[in-house]
């Protein structure tokens, strides 16, 4: 029979076999569609948000192209060049500052934004109150107007029409900002927005040399000029400007990164569910084929070749998987509609509803690959069923070794699955880590499942008959032990890992709140204000410990003479090249001599060429050796320094940590402000802030506790998302368990009936089955606890380089969850078996 004839006949027979419907494939369909729906849903939502990002790029960016300068505005020459080459330009200033009520009784740190009359070039702000922004911000009856976020009104106890003080001016609140599309997603917003006119800002007196102020110039390009061309010309005209230029291609990199990260992360959710579901798919195919042994053997007796059998069942499994994938895709397509409806307001951009084919095709491809990887093994075994099976009872022939060629084919599909997961992820490293982790976890659980079966087979026979029956059921042919341990174990491992990670992070935060890390940061201290600040801190009882260092901001523009734009940074250190970094200099000794791991610190009276102490980890990642050069652009001026030493930084102490600490020199003469930390008691917190801000109103006080609470909230949200993974994976695991129980249902009924005939009571049987599922749950939970603990320890100590502590609670909760899942699901399935009357079954048998 040639290939064409074989396939034709396989198609014909497959169709005939499927006449009975999809009975028995419920678990198969549920497992497959759950994973496919998760991947398609997440991908579609990410695509919808990304489409929104693209469509609103101009509005989010505030123009076709945006220039950003730190510390200083554009020069007249630069501004003239920009104005001459565009249709319109809008200048914006952003900084942090304190806002006070008129009587000075309340104040709040705000994100201050000064705008010109052209703002916004594109789109519009959503305002409650006066809707004409320019009119609202204009000077009227001698007072400038302000637009604020609602949070500020609540915090200061003021309303629209009231006045607040900012720096040296008093502004009247005229309107409330409901939505500011160009604000983007800055993870570190330290306060609500307060928007005033640039002319008003100039009168505040807050614009001081060295203050952390960002100047933006957004432009509306003439027709026919692309952002790319314009950017190139700007860079060519002012190669040393030190500005950061963004165009529509990277309008909102923070949002893009957010979408990429969340998208990748949630795709991994889907893949986890799909992989766990894959075990269910494999089990379902195996049990389906187990029921087809007689048919396969009959066809073999009638002369059907093995390849026809394989093709016939491959077609059937393929057709059913198409149904499962289609169901998954329908849910996947529908879920973003629901998600946008529910969380649309909280998304950084307005998502665009629609059908996005790329994530749909990707989800379908993953569905097909998972089906192939997990079903080819049992399908290949079906091919090997002999015609002799009709004459002789064959025990579980489907689960045996399928032969090396099949294993190689499964391996190839698994490899395609892994490579696809990595290549299609926006964060390939994360995906690669997931793939390796998933392979390790699946392998570990498969081996452990195998070991549990082998050990239970070799255990001495217990005297207790119920325990003996329970242990025998663990290793009986065609049993569910391996599949359940693998599928349920994966989800439980994630649960334990997440719980321990959260416990450790919380322990760290508690440490922060006990005063082991600074309670306050004070930024924008002018050099002449430092003595005042130190006097205030010293006046407390006990005196408040402070640390004050000069700070200015600059961008790394070159390393070892290679322009930053040509450096491909290692992913974990990419942030160093991404934007402005805080820089400092010191004439004194190193912060902690023990942390110098390579090279020498400069002497106290050093006055030679500019040197820099570099973060050891980053230096290693960028391969920056002692003597190599780094160029930073400070206030438009390139400053090149030689690496003098590598310094190990403990980022977790939340102290003043700079990647780059310079020797005194050119940098010392640049305009700068100071940053200070204060270690203080709970009682001193508010008093210090009041005293400093009262006397030095331009200084911004950042309360670490508030920031950490914000971070904790973000972590809590991430924790919820991770728990969703665990729950989806556990749900898939429970489906596998249910599938295994359903598959063994007939045998269970038969066993129960025979045991009843032999005198076993319902109680005996319930005890035996509860023991069986209890052992299964305990073993799975124990393994998941160990693996989850190891995974959390690895993330904490190796990836986050933070201290580690073990907590028993997650393990205990996992054990309980596992027992509830296994015993609960197991008993529901077996109670039906116990209710069967013995006589009818024996008569029919």
């Amino acid at each position: 029979m040639n290939v064409g004839a074989t396939l034709r006949l396989a198609w014909t027979y497959a169709r005939r076999e499927l006449r009975g419907g999809l009975k028995g494939f419920g678990i198969f369909l549920a497992c497959l569609s759950l994973g496919v729906a998760a991947i398609a849903g997440v991908g579609s939502l990410a695509a919808a948000v990304e489409a929104g990002l693209k469509a609103d790029g101009r509005v989010l960016l505030g123009g076709d192209v945006s220039f950003r300068l730190t510390h200083r505005p554009a020069t007249d020459e630069q501004l003239r060049w920009i104005t001459d080459n565009v249709d319109r330009v809008s200048g914006i200033v952003e900084m942090r500052a304190n806002t006070f009520t008129e009587d000075g009784s309340a104040y709040r740190l705000v994100e201050l934004k000064g705008v010109d009359d052209a703002y916004p070039l594109f789109g519009g702000l959503e305002l409650s109150g006066e809707t004409d922004l320019n009119a609202a911000l204009a000077q009227r009856d001698g007072a400038w107007g302000a637009a604020v976020q609602k949070g500020l009104l609540e915090r200061l106890g003021v309303g629209v029409g009231d006045r607040v003080r900012i720096g040296d001016v008093s502004v009247e609140i005229r309107t409330v900002i409901d939505r500011e599309p160009d604000r983007g997603t800055n993870a570190f917003n330290f306060g609500p927005r307060l928007m005033i006119n640039n002319d008003a800002l100039a009168e505040t007196g807050l614009v001081q040399p060295g203050s952390i102020i960002r100047y933006y110039y957004r432009v509306d390009l003439p027709d026919g000029v692309t952002p790319g061309q314009f950017t190139e010309r700007a860079e060519a005209a002012f190669p040393e400007a030190g500005w950061r230029i963004r165009d529509l291609d990277n309008a909102a990199p923070n949002i893009q990164r957010f979408i990429d990260r969340v998208g990748s992360f949630m795709t991994i959710v889907g893949l986890t569910a799909l992989l766990v579901g894959g075990v269910g798919v494999g089990n379902a195919v195996r049990h389906f084929l187990q029921g087809k042994i007689a048919t396969i053997a009959t066809l073999k007796c009638l002369g059907a070749p093995s390849r026809l059998i394989l093709a016939m069942y491959l077609v059937q499994v393929g057709l059913i998987s198409l149904v499962g994938i289609a169901i998954g895709l329908v849910f996947g397509l529908a879920s973003p509609l629901l998600a946008i409806d529910i969380i649309g307001d909280r998304l950084p951009v307005a998502a665009r509803q629609g059908v996005y084919w790329q994530p749909i095709l990707l989800a379908a491809m993953f569905g097909v690959l998972v089906t192939l990887v997990f079903s080819l093994w049992p399908l290949s075994r079906a091919r090997q069923i002999p015609g002799a099976a009709l004459f002789r009872e064959q025990v579980a022939p489907i689960s045996g070794f399928p032969g090396w060629p099949t294993l190689a084919v499964v391996g190839v599909f698994a490899l395609i699955l892994a490579v696809s997961a990595v290549l299609t992820s926006a964060q390939p490293w994360l995906a690669a880590g997931f793939v390796l982790g998933a392979i390790a976890a699946l392998g570990a659980f498969a081996l452990i499942g195998f070991a549990v079966v082998a050990v239970s087979r070799r255990l001495p026979r217990p005297r207790n008959a119920k325990l003996r029956l329970a242990i025998a059921n663990l290793h009986r042919p065609g049993g569910a032990t391996g599949g359940v341990i693998m599928s349920l174990g994966m989800g439980l491992t994630v649960l334990v890992g997440v719980a321990l990670l959260e416990y450790n992070l919380k322990t760290q935060l508690d440490g922060a709140l006990r005063g082991e890390i600074p309670g306050y940061y004070f930024i924008d201290l002018q050099p002449d204000q430092v003595p005042t600040f130190e006097r205030i801190a010293a006046s407390f009882d006990p005196p408040i410990r402070t640390q004050t260092v000069p700070m200015l901001r600059g961008r790394v523009s070159a390393m070892k003479g290679v322009p930053a734009s040509e450096i491909v940074p290692p992913p974990q250190e990419a942030w160093i090249l991404r934007g402005d970094r805080g820089l400092t200099w010191t004439a004194g000794g190193p912060p902690d001599p023990e942390k110098i791991v390579k090279g020498e610190w400069w002497p106290p009276d050093y006055a030679g060429e500019q040197l820099v102490s570099f973060d050891a980890e980053a230096a290693e990642a960028f391969d920056l050796q002692i003597g190599d050069t780094i160029t930073v652009n400070v206030l438009g001026r390139p400053i090149t320094a030689k690496v003098a030493n590598w310094r190990r930084i403990d980022w977790n102490d939340l102290g003043i940590n700079f990647v780059m600490v310079f020797s005194p020199g050119v940098l010392a003469s640049a305009p700068m402000t100071y940053i200070a930390t204060a270690h203080l008691t709970d009682e001193q917190e508010i008093a210090l802030e009041k005293a400093v801000v009262g006397e030095l109103p331009n200084v911004s006080a950042i309360r670490v506790k508030e920031v950490l609470e914000g971070v904790t909230e973000i972590l809590a949200n991430v924790g919820v998302a991770v728990r969703v993974i665990a729950v989806v994976a556990i749900f898939a695991g429970v489906l596998v368990l249910a599938g295994a129980i359903a598959a063994g249902h007939r045998k269970r009924i038969y066993d129960a009936v025979v045991l009843k005939v032999l005198g076993a009571t319902r109680r005996d049987l319930i005890t035996a089955y509860a023991l069986e599922y209890g052992i299964l749950g305990l073993v799975t939970a124990a393994i998941a606890s160990v693996l989850g603990t190891v995974a959390a320890w690895f993330v904490m100590t190796r990836l986050m380089e933070a201290p580690w502590a073990f907590a028993p609670e997650p393990a205990i909760i996992t054990v309980i969850a596992a027992l509830v899942c296994t015993v609960g699901a197991g008993m529901i399935g077996t109670l039906a078996a116990l209710n069967k009357k013995a006589a009818p079954l024996l008569r029919n048998d």
Binding site: A5, R16, G20, A294, T295, T298, L302, G303, A304
Partner: protein, 237 residues
Amino acid sequence: MSPSDTQGPLMVLEDVHLRLGSEAGEVHILRGVDFEAGRGETISIVGPSGSGKTSMMMVAAGLERATSGTVMVDGHDFATAGEDELALLRRDRMGIVFQSFHLVPTMSALENVAVPLELAGRSDAFDRAGEMLAAVGLDHRLSHYPGQLSGGEQQRTALARAFAVEPGLLLADEPTGNLDHDTGEQIIEQMFGLCERFGTTLMLITHDPGLAARCERMVTMQDGMLSERAPAARKAV
């Protein structure tokens, strides 16, 4: 399917041994079986349960490989034939009838009978299947599924399927074991009739001495070895 020696015996078993492994150790099932079946001959195999009758039939069908010895059917040496070659031999030259019928439950009676013809790539598979079902008196049950047929009807369908390719050899393992006496009688009548019509050699395993006696030869299997009784007179059918 060549070669076919129309002069020599259809089936030859020479010093056939079959050993199978089990958890309890190796079991020596066939212990040097010598057997010949001529073309058109009807032979019954009797013997106690576990004596090796079914194993001998499986070896003869190419479903089980002999551990040693020679097995030849219609000139084909099983020792050198691959799995697919044996499958083709069964498809084109053999019919098998089982005690438990073994129809494909998801196929109608007509489709079940057509399977070997379809496997052989015959374009007239369904016409021929219909004729065979008519020959066993089931032309009114063509579109019925096995679950909708009585035991006797299922076995007649199996008989029609076995004879669809006009096989040279019919292997029947307790074909009436699951049927009542009268129905069994009808099946046996039809089976012998079809064997005679197509000149098919019949190898029949049975516990029923009366049925065994209807065959031209009767051999007894005891502990994996054959002994032949005196040929019985073939009853007229």
